[in-house]
C-alpha cells in the first residue's frame, strides 16, 4: 500500500534529455497507465521508478520515502516485463518463489505463498513446468505470480501484454485489472496501446517526447485533450485537425462556417470522426473517396471541400460507394469542437 510521487523527474543520457521534468502524484491503490508512442520515454520513466535507471534530476518517492538511491529490491516494488523475463531453467514454482528465497523466507512459507499465488492465477497444475512448456498467456500469469507473491506496495508493468495475440490480450487486460483491484495495490502500467490505456486506467499519463502532456481520467483525456498530440493519440480513428479561423459565431474553415463558441485568431480545429453526423443541411461538405465498412459503422475517408487535408468521418451503419468520389454534408455538435493554439498546440 503506497503512494508514488514523481517530482520534476528528469533523465539525461549524455547531453540528450529524454525525460524532461515529469510531475505525478499517484494515490494509494490507484491504477495509472502511462501511454505514448515508442520512444516517448514512458518505459524509461517506469524504470526510474523501479530503480533500473538512475534519476538524473528530481525525486521519486514511494510511500513517504525518497527512493532515488535505493536498489530495486529495497523499493518494495515488483515488476512485470514485456518479455516476462522468466528464468528459463527454473520451474514455475522456482520462478515465482525466487524473490522470496533471496529474501531468506523459510521454505514452508515460500511454498504456501507460491501455492496461494498459483491458485489465484490458475497456475496450480503448471507449477513444475518450465517456462518453455507454457503458452503465452500462462507465461504472462507466471510473471504476474512472481510480481504478486512478494506483496509489494507498487506493481510496475512494462508493456506486459504486447507479446500476446489480440484475443488473449483482451482477456489478460481484464484479469490484470481485476487482480489489481482485488489486491488493492498501486500500479503503474506502461503501454503504447491506447485501448489498454482507456480500459484499464483509473488515470492515465499521456507521454510525448519526454513530457507528460496530460494526466487525467480516460474520459477527461478523451473529452478535453490538452494538446493536439493527445487529441490525435487518444481515440480511434484519430481526430481530424484542420486550420481554421475563429470568429464571433464559431469557426471559419475555408468557405465553410461552423457554428460554435466565439473567439478570434488562427487556430487548429479538432473534430473527432465519430462526432460527425450526416446532415443534409450541415455546414461541412466532404468529398469521400474511400469507405471502410466496420460493420456497425463505416469510416469515410476523403477531404473537406476547399481544403486539401485528409479528413475522416465515422457514420453509423453501412455505406455503399457508388462512384469514384461522393459528396456528403456533415454537421458537428458545437460542444465537440476542440480548439488548439496554432503554435503551441495547447488547448484553448
Amino acid at each position: 500500500m503506497a503512494t508514488v510521487d514523481l517530482i520534476d523527474v528528469r533523465k539525461r543520457f549524455g547531453a540528450t534529455e529524454v525525460i524532461k521534468g515529469v510531475n505525478l502524484t499517484v494515490a494509494d491503490g490507484e491504477f495509472i497507465v502511462i501511454v505514448g508512442p515508442s520512444g516517448c520515454g514512458k518505459s524509461t520513466l517506469l524504470r526510474m521508478v523501479a530503480g533500473l535507471e538512475t534519476v538524473s534530476d528530481g525525486e521519486v518517492r514511494i510511500g513517504d520515502r525518497r527512493v532515488n538511491d535505493l536498489e530495486p529490491m529495497d523499493r518494495d516494488i515488483s515488476m512485470v516485463f514485456q518479455n516476462y523475463a522468466l528464468y528459463p531453467h527454473m520451474s514455475v514454482r522456482q520462478n515465482i518463489g525466487y524473490g522470496l528465497k533471496i529474501a531468506k523466507m523459510p521454505k514452508d512459507q515460500i511454498a504456501a505463498k507460491v501455492a496461494e499465488a498459483a491458485a489465484l492465477l490458475q497456475l496450480t497444475d503448471y507449477l513444475d513446468r518450465r517456462p518453455r512448456d507454457l503458452s503465452g498467456g500462462q507465461r504472462q500469469r507466471v510473471a504476474m505470480g512472481r510480481a504478486i507473491v512478494r506483496e509489494p506496495s507498487v506493481f510496475l508493468f512494462d508493456e506486459p501484454l504486447s507479446n500476446l495475440d489480440a484475443k488473449l490480450r483482451v482477456q489478460m487486460r481484464l484479469e490484470i485489472k481485476e487482480l489489481q483491484a482485488k489486491l488493492g495495490i498501486t500500479a503503474l502500467y506502461v503501454t503504447h496501446d491506447q485501448v489498454e490505456a482507456m480500459t484499464m486506467a483509473d488515470r492515465m499519463v499521456v507521454m510525448h517526447a519526454g513530457v507528460a502532456e496530460q494526466i487525467g481520467t480516460p474520459l477527461e483525456v478523451y473529452e478535453s485533450p490538452a494538446t493536439v498530440f493527445v487529441a490525435q493519440f487518444i481515440g480511434s480513428p484519430s481526430m481530424n485537425i484542420l486550420e481554421a479561423t475563429r470568429t464571433a459565431g464559431g469557426a471559419q474553415l475555408g468557405d465553410m462556417m461552423l457554428p460554435g463558441p466565439g473567439g478570434s485568431g488562427s487556430v487548429q480545429l479538432g473534430i473527432r470522426p465519430e462526432h460527425l453526423s450526416r446532415d443534409e443541411a450541415g455546414p461541412l461538405q466532404m468529398h469521400v473517396n474511400l469507405a471502410e465498412p466496420l460493420g456497425a459503422n463505416t469510416l469515410l475517408h476523403g477531404w473537406l471541400a476547399g481544403t486539401q487535408l485528409p479528413f475522416t468521418a465515422s457514420v453509423p451503419g453501412v455505406w455503399r460507394m457508388t462512384g469514384g468520389t461522393e459528396e456528403l454534408q456533415l454537421s458537428v455538435d458545437p460542444e465537440h469542437l476542440h480548439f488548439f493554439d496554432k503554435t503551441t498546440g495547447r488547448r484553448l
Binding site: L52, P72, M73, S78, M79, F81, A85, Y87, R146
Partner: protein
C-alpha cells in the same frame, strides 16, 4: 537434413560406390589406431619379426597389466592420473576464470575495462610455444617444476573461452538481469542462480574441447616435469623409448599409447554433439 540431397543424387551402383569410398576413407584413417591396438595385444617377438600380424593376439591382459602397473620408467597408471589431474585442472580452471571475467566484462562498467579486455585479447597471440624459456624461468622461480600447479597454471589463461562466454552472456536478455535485480539478487547471486545454469551447455561444450586440449599437451609437460613420477601420459610415452640402439618394448608402448587415447576418445564420442558444437563455437 537427411533428404536434402535426395533429388539430385545417384541411386544403385553410384550409392554403393559412394559407401565404398567412404569405408575406404574410414579404414585408411583408422588403420594407425587399429595397428596400435593389435600391437598392444601381441608379444614383442611377433612385432620384431615383420610383418607383424593384423589381428589382435592373446597378450592383451599381460601387456596392459605390465604397462599400467610397471611401465618403463614409471607405471602408466601414474601418468594417467597425472594427465587426468592436469587436463581437469586446465579445463576447469580455464572455464572458471573465463566465466568470471566474461561476467565482469558484460555486466559491469569499471575503470580500465577496455584496457583489460585488450590485454586478455593479446594473450591469443602468445601460445606457450613462443615464450617457453622465460615462462619456464617463471615457473622455476615459483618452485613449481614437477608440480601440478606448474603443469596447469601457465596454460590456464584463455582468451578464447573468455570471448566465447562473453558472446553467450550478451545473448541473455537484459530483462532477466533486471528481473533478478527486482527480485533482490546481488550480482554474484544472479551469476550463480541465473547465468551459470543458463550457460550449462556452453560450459559442457567448452569442457570437452579444453579437456582434450589439456590432455594432449606435450611441450609444456616435457619442460616442467623432469621427475618421471610427474610425467603426463602423452609426453611420457616418448620417454618409454630407449635412448640408445636398444629395441623398444613395443607391446607396452603401444598399450600405453592406446591408454593415452582412450580418455579423450571416450569424451569426444560420448559427448559428440557437444564436442562439435564446442569446436565450431570456439573457433568462431
Amino acid at each position: 537434413m537427411a533428404e536434402r540431397t535426395g533429388m539430385v543424387e545417384k541411386r544403385g551402383w553410384g550409392l554403393w560406390a559412394t559407401h565404398a569410398m567412404m569405408i575406404l576413407g574410414v579404414l585408411v584413417v583408422f588403420f594407425p589406431i587399429w595397428l596400435a591396438f593389435v600391437a598392444s595385444t601381441v608379444t614383442q617377438s611377433e612385432i620384431t619379426q615383420p610383418p607383424m600380424p593384423l589381428m589382435p593376439g592373446d597378450q592383451f591382459l599381460n601387456n596392459y597389466r605390465e604397462a599400467l602397473f610397471e611401465g618403463v620408467n614409471v607405471p602408466v597408471l601414474t601418468m594417467l592420473v597425472n594427465s587426468t589431474i592436469t587436463a581437469l585442472g586446465i579445463a576447469i580452471g580455464k572455464i572458471a576464470i573465463s566465466l568470471l571475467s566474461a561476467f565482469a566484462f558484460v555486466y559491469f562498467r569499471f575503470p580500465g575495462r577496455g584496457m583489460f579486455f585488450w590485454l586478455i585479447f593479446l594473450t591469443l597471440m602468445l601460445p606457450v610455444e613462443v615464450r617457453i624459456v622465460p615462462t619456464y624461468e617463471v615457473v622455476a622461480g615459483f618452485g613449481m617444476l614437477n608440480s601440478y600447479s606448474g603443469l596447469i597454471f601457465p596454460l590456464i589463461a584463455s582468451a578464447t573461452a573468455t570471448f566465447l562466454f562473453r558472446q553467450f552472456f550478451l545473448t541473455i536478455p537484459d530483462e532477466l538481469a533486471e528481473a533478478a535485480r527486482v527480485d533482490g539478487a546481488s550480482p554474484m547471486r544472479f551469476f550463480w542462480d541465473i547465468v551459470l545454469p543458463m550457460s550449462r551447455t556452453n560450459i559442457a561444450a567448452l569442457f570437452v574441447i579444453l579437456f582434450i586440449y589439456g590432455w594432449n599437451q606435450y611441450l609444456w609437460p616435457l619442460l616442467v616435469t623432469t621427475d618421471p613420477e610427474m610425467n603426463t601420459i602423452v609426453m611420457g610415452i616418448r620417454q618409454m623409448f630407449p635412448s640408445g640402439d636398444d629395441l623398444a618394448d613395443w607391446p607396452v608402448i603401444m598399450a600405453a599409447s592406446i591408454l593415452a587415447m582412450v580418455p579423450p576418445i571416450v569424451v569426444v564420442l560420448s559427448m559428440q554433439r557437444l564436442f562439435i558444437r564446442g569446436l565450431v563455437d570456439s573457433e568462431k
